[in-house]
């Protein structure tokens, strides 16, 4: 029931408070900064050295984890001199554990990372440049979707090889649409159609579009419509927050008005929007692509998924992407680095199996294969790749994004007007961005 991305949250029980100073201090005992990376091997074409063991960390705790492990087993069987061992953490634990593990020399060789984390970890020297991998494997923008490919860059250098992308999709309950006299095979694609459909649903007694005040999924919905209205979260240099611009306020108002007009109940709780979709009380839900596999397990439910309708002036959808990175080691082992590159290249080529885990493969050749076209639902969201709005590449954006999502929370819960909530959020975000600039010197 909980989306796997939800696990990006730490669960520390009671009693951490007083100990926090102590915990942080212990983490600090690792000391020492990672050494420089080495350019090793021929960028991932093959590896002929002595046998190496590679540690790979990921956060695939859902069904995707099994698919990933099977791929790794296959790789290990095909490569006698490389043995990849997989360690899985919950995403949020993962990002807090990784720095400490790396600085104490216990980190992985390969780390899977979300695109929005790349800049932070690159700026902090945790991961190494991969330009030579891209070059040696002759990977270029043309092999990937441009939006995803560019997201792996930080200061014009490549740090991530994209594996997939996971956008927000438009899920609809076909039974409710039928009940309201709508064609369940023609989900609305424009603002007019969308609002007309909601009106029909309302007539049939259904609040058709539950607006969650939380990041999952209301915040990401707002993120998407904000971009559809032509707005952005930050200026081009990510120096100033811009999510209180006129388009942003209009987009936010449109969403909040859904509640005012009775298309959504007030005070939608975490996951309530999605649970209501499944239980036939909510007709439309903008949710992550990772819900496809969960919905497939609900045999009684008539549902469909389509790209997000175009509410604003242009299509746009929230999206993120899993990337492979190579972690800097205190004592770099050239063999390990070149073996890691072989692995990344191999897995990228085999990402069709990964698509069955419910993600759109980043690699174009895989996306255009007949195998991928057969994955109807996931394939339905592939068009979003062209206009996916990925998070910007700037270090330390985590807390700034929290500020963004919290200002939407206040607007959606009616604590503040959209304008007021976003103005307050921007004022705070600008201070946070300034702190980041001082810290990372960019």
């Amino acid at each position: 029931m909980i989306q796997h991305e939800m696990s990006r949250r730490r669960l520390l029980g009671l009693g951490v408070g007083l100990g926090s100073a102590a915990t942080l201090a212990l983490a600090g005992c690792g000391g020492g900064s990672a050494t420089k990376s080495t350019t090793a091997g021929n960028g991932g074409k093959d590896y002929t050295g002595p046998k190496v063991d590679l540690k790979l960390w990921n956060g695939f705790t859902g069904g995707d984890g099994d698919i990933f492990k099977k791929l790794v087993e296959q790789f290990n069987a095909e490569h006698q001199n490389i043995a990849v061992g997989v360690i899985t953490y919950q995403w949020d634990d993962y990002y807090s554990k990784l720095p400490g593990a790396v600085s104490s020399g216990n980190g992985p060789d390969i780390a899977v990372m979300h695109m929005d984390q790349l800049a932070t970890f690159a700026a902090r020297g945790v991961i190494t440049e991969l330009d030579d991998v891209a070059k040696a494997l002759e990977l270029s923008e043309g092999d990937f979707a441009p939006t995803v490919w560019k997201g792996g860059l930080y200061h014009d250098k490549r740090y991530g090889i994209p594996l997939d992308m996971h956008p927000l999709g438009f899920y609809y309950n076909k039974a409710l649409m039928q009940k309201a006299g709508l064609d369940p095979n023609k989900p609305p694609t424009t603002r007019e159609e969308y609002e007309a459909a909601l009106t029909e649903l309302k007539k049939s007694g259904v609040q058709g579009f539950w607006v969650s005040p939380f990041q999952f999924t209301g915040g990401m919905t707002f993120y998407s419509v904000l971009h559809q209205w032509g707005g952005t979260l930050f200026d081009a240099d990510v120096a100033k927050a811009t999510f209180n611009s006129d388009p942003a306020v209009e987009a936010c108002t449109w969403l909040v008005d859904m509640i005012k007009q009775g298309h959504s109940p007030r005070n939608v709780g975490q996951d309530a929007d999605y649970l209501a979709l499944k239980s036939g009380r909510n007709a439309f839900n903008w949710n992550g692509i990772w819900q496809i596999n969960d919905l497939k397990k609900s045999p009684g439910m008539q549902w469909g998924v389509a790209p997000l309708p175009k509410i604003g002036s242009q299509p746009a959808a929230w999206a993120n992407s899993h990337n492979f990175t190579i972690v800097k080691q205190r004592s770099a082992d050239a063999n390990k680095v070149s073996a890691a590159k072989v692995f990344i290249n191999w897995l990228s080529q085999h990402s069709i199996d990964w698509a069955k885990g419910g993600q759109v493969p980043a690699r174009k050749a895989v996306r255009e294969s007949a195998d991928f076209k057969a994955l109807t639902e996931v394939n339905a969201l592939a068009p979003e790749l062209e206009y996916a709005a990925f998070p910007p590449a700037a270090p330390g954006l985590g807390e700034v994004m929290t500020t963004f999502y919290n200002s939407f929370n206040e607007a959606a819960l009616g604590k503040k007007s959209p304008k007021q909530a976003l103005d307050d959020g921007v004022a705070k975000a600008n201070k946070q961005l300034e702190d980041n600039r001082k810290k990372y010197g960019s």
Binding site: Y95, R266, N267
Partner: protein
């Protein structure tokens, strides 16, 4: 009742606690002067390595702009502390809103967590059929992890889909209370869930304390004509004073450390109003990797709690005099 009398009798026969009547050690007595220290040494080592050293290191970190991964960790003196007190800094409003959230939760939850378990313990201390079952039943929620109770109650308390609102609606009460998304309801939810979850623990401690009160005292009071309330006031409460002090102190500290409940049930909503101090420290240190600022928050928060605990002890000592 048998065990109560037994416990009381054992207590009465026991020698007075050490410290009150300390005998001077003569050379004829066995044991070297260093013996007690040798026995204490293992714990002392643990305390130094895992207690004192990290605390001191934490204070040291708090004087720096400290990131595990960045090569430069400039010394900033009291700068991190200054940020917490300067309204210009990005963290100022967040920090004090977290302190406020934690204070509200503590002030609301501690009285309940001190009084409700006491009443429960008094009831469970009586002899009645099924006593063991009820003792287990009230303690049971405490066995569950915060993740379990957090998710459970988040779904039960959901404004639109939750069982709680549905039941309220069935008996004719408002069925749209935003238990987990709006003030003041969020506080009712967080405090209520916490009391439900942890009151069994305090009740067990009270129970142990109650069984430590000599039964003769009750008998003597009864002979003197004391009624139930008098016996509670003049025998039970004084007898529980050390237990009360313990329960009060640990409950204040536990409540001030609240994190899991608001993290899971309200997720900080509305806005950041239920984001607690510990949550803020974890975010600052482990998500934003600003260990210096997180350490400064920890130190400041520890000082606040130390002051509260000292006041607490003073009050109880005053009453003893």
């Amino acid at each position: 009742m048998a065990d109560v009398i037994e416990a009381g009798a054992a207590r009465a026969d026991a020698p007075p606690p050490a410290g009150r009547t300390r005998r001077r050690r003569g050379p004829t007595e066995r044991g070297h002067r260093a013996t007690p220290y040798l026995f204490l040494a293992p714990y002392l080592v643990l305390f130094l390595v895992f207690g004192l050293a990290p605390i001191l290191f934490g204070v040291w970190i708090s004087l720096h702009q400290w990131d595990l991964q960045l090569p430069n960790r400039p010394f900033v003196g009291l700068g991190n502390y200054g940020d917490l007190f300067s309204s210009d800094s990005a963290i100022y409003a967040d920090w004090w809103s977290s302190v406020r959230a934690t204070a509200i939760f503590t002030v609301l939850s501690v009285p309940l967590l001190v009084v409700v378990p006491l009443g429960l313990a008094l009831l469970l201390n009586r002899a009645f059929p099924g006593r063991t079952f009820f003792r287990a039943a009230f303690f049971a929620p405490y066995v569950l992890g915060v993740a379990v109770i957090g998710l459970l109650w988040r779904f039960l308390l959901d404004a639109n889909l939750g069982l709680v609102n549905r039941l309220l609606g069935m008996v004719g009460l408002p069925s749209d209370t935003p238990w987990v998304t709006d003030v003041p309801w969020v506080w009712v939810s967080l405090v209520g869930v916490t009391v439900w979850w942890t009151c069994g623990f305090n009740a067990v401690i009270y129970l142990a304390g109650l069984q430590d009160i000599p039964a003769e005292l009750y008998e003597a009071a009864r002979v003197d004509g004391a009624n139930g309330w008098d016996r509670f006031r003049h025998v039970t409460l004084p007898g529980l004073r050390p237990v009360l002090l313990f329960v009060l102190t640990t409950t204040i500290l536990a409540s001030a450390n609240v994190f899991g409940q608001s993290f899971l049930i309200t997720q900080g909503a509305p806005g950041e109003q239920t984001r607690t101090v510990v949550w803020r420290i974890v975010d600052e240190g482990l998500r934003d990797y600003d260990a210096g600022r997180a350490a400064a928050m920890s130190v400041l928060f520890a000082l606040m709690l130390a002051v509260v605990s000292i006041v607490n002890f003073r009050l109880f000592r005053y009453r003893e005099d």
